[in-house]
């Protein structure tokens, strides 16, 4: 028997925004419409990028410094990483053809891995929260299922100089038999992106009949992440994946932030205040990082193109590193937040 699982806010909100189910009808509509993301979004693109994408990058930094105990638990992340990041950014802007190129390729290659990790994290959270303790073998299967879109983009991005194209020489990748193998690999991964989550669902549900099987809320983020990479071409996937991933991230980080702040002694504010204040902070920080910082590099004599692209790349990398620590579930207060009942 199918079950949705235990939501954080409510079944509809969790399914659409955290699970990413909104992706499915929107993707269908986008594919039928046929226009590219840039054509469709037009002048609203910069606003969407600021309010969703850039705000979500800022959210991890803001969470690091507002999550109770996080700074004390991760002093290197909180104190040293920003300075290292700043120094690498300066070096990259000064050398766009050298370090800059590598940082850009690193960020773009890492990005689908980060999405996969988020899908795995969300799926694990919903399993825990719904009372399903995954066996190590099931956990491993879930991890591999989540990684399929990443492997697909490793192969699919080769032609753009990302993924395998970043590591392997383009002359070798251009060899007909290698190019054919890459196309075949992408085709196989297109199937595995959906087949492995289905296999995980079947295997883990069979092993957890007593608790009602795997919650659908755990499956949704995995399928949503896969669909971004399979249904759209590279450029549109890049835009839509970042938009949907950002929405998903902002939804879940807002819930965690509000719960943590409300649990602090002396708190007198409601959840909406905490969510609104956090989101305003994210937008302001996103604006400072992505709109002001490139201009600072221009003031220092660099071009707007290298400054903007490299700020984007370095903030991406910083975000990936911070996220790898602040969302841990095991032996972390996050686990308590995941398991907590919905506040009245």
């Amino acid at each position: 028997m199918l079950r949705l699982g235990r939501s954080f806010v409510g079944p509809v909100f969790d399914s659409l925004w955290i699970g990413g189910a909104i992706t499915l009808p929107v993707s269908a509509w986008l594919l039928l419409d046929g226009r590219s993301a840039v054509q469709l979004l037009g002048l609203s693109l910069p606003l969407l990028v600021l309010f969703v994408n850039q705000a979500h990058f800022a959210a991890s930094t803001l969470r690091l410094y507002t999550k109770p105990g996080a700074v004390e638990s991760h002093p290197l992340l909180a104190y040293a990483l920003p300075i290292v990041t700043f120094a690498v950014l300066a070096a990259a802007v000064a050398s766009p053809a050298g370090l800059g190129r590598q940082i850009w390729a690193l960020a773009m290659t890492w990005s689908p891995y980060h999405y996969a990790a988020q899908a795995f994290g969300l799926a694990s959270m919903y399993c825990y929260r719904s009372g399903l303790a995954l066996a190590p073998r099931e956990r491993l299967l879930l991890r591999w299922a989540c990684l399929m879109p990443f492997f697909r983009s490793l192969l699919g991005g080769a032609a753009s100089g990302l993924g395998l194209g970043w590591i392997l020489p383009s002359a070798w990748l251009g060899e007909p038999h290698v190019a054919q193998a890459v196309v075949l690999g992408v085709g196989i991964l297109d199937v595995l992106v959906f087949a492995l989550p289905a296999l995980f669902f079947a295997v883990a549900s069979r092993g957890a009949r007593a608790s009602g099987g795997v919650p659908l809320l755990a499956l949704l983020p995995v399928l949503a992440n896969g669909s971004w990479f399979v249904l759209f071409d590279a450029l549109n996937a890049f835009v839509w994946a970042t938009v949907f991933h950002g929405i998903q991230y902002l939804a879940v980080v807002s819930i965690f932030h509000a719960r943590e702040q409300r649990a602090l002694p002396g708190n007198a504010r409601g959840p909406f205040f905490h969510v609104a204040a956090f989101y305003v902070g994210c937008v302001a920080l996103g604006y400072a990082l992505f709109q002001c910082w490139p201009r600072a590099a221009v003031a220092a004599g660099f071009g707007i193109v290298e400054s903007t692209f490299l700020v984007v790349a370095i903030v991406n990398v910083h975000h990936f590193i911070v996220d790898a620590y602040i969302w841990r579930l095991r032996r972390d207060p996050n686990y308590g937040t995941v398991m907590a009942a919905n506040p009245a």
């Binding site: 002001c292 490139p294 193109v305």
Partner: protein
């Protein structure tokens, strides 16, 4: 104790760097345009708006930066080719367009631009080939240019 002092010191440096970069960026935009930085998605478009036709060397630098960071960005090489052609650095412009061609399918107008560059460099055979590709894909070339290329440039 020493760790705590080091942490505090790093925090101060980090906050100062963040604040200085943000303030400098705001100041730069305010001085240049009279308002805070406007929302920027594609910096190449911004650079083109700011420099193309006004500061050719700066526009070339911006386009070249993109090709350095993203060496397989077809659009970057087309922009660089156009910027170099505007500055009459034809040999370099041809190299940029040829790189774009090697990376994938280019817009029809790029074939026309490349045809003109080959012609200016005296490579008539290549100019004719590109002119033919441009025409096949719906670009209309001036009669003067087609005459200059000779009869072989016409539609097959």
């Amino acid at each position: 104790m020493a760790t705590r002092i080091a942490d505090r010191l790093l925090l101060v440096i980090g906050v100062a760097a963040f604040g200085a970069a943000t303030a400098l960026g705001l100041a730069q935009a305010l001085l240049a345009t009279g308002r805070p930085p406007r929302l920027l998605v594609d910096p190449l478009v911004e650079a083109q708006r700011e420099f193309a036709g006004r500061d050719r060397e700066r526009w070339i630098h911006e386009a070249r930066s993109l090709t350095e960071i993203q060496p397989r960005n077809l659009g970057g090489f087309l922009a660089l080719g156009r910027a170099l052609a505007d500055a009459e650095r034809d040999a370099e412009a041809i190299r940029a367009y040829e790189t774009a061609l090697a990376l994938g399918s280019v817009p029809p107008v790029a074939h026309a631009q490349l045809a003109r560059l080959y012609y200016r460099e005296g490579d008539l055979a290549s100019a004719r080939a590109q002119a033919r590709l441009a025409q096949e894909r719906g670009v209309s070339l001036s009669e003067d240019f087609l005459r200059a290329l000779g009869p072989a440039a016409g539609r097959g």
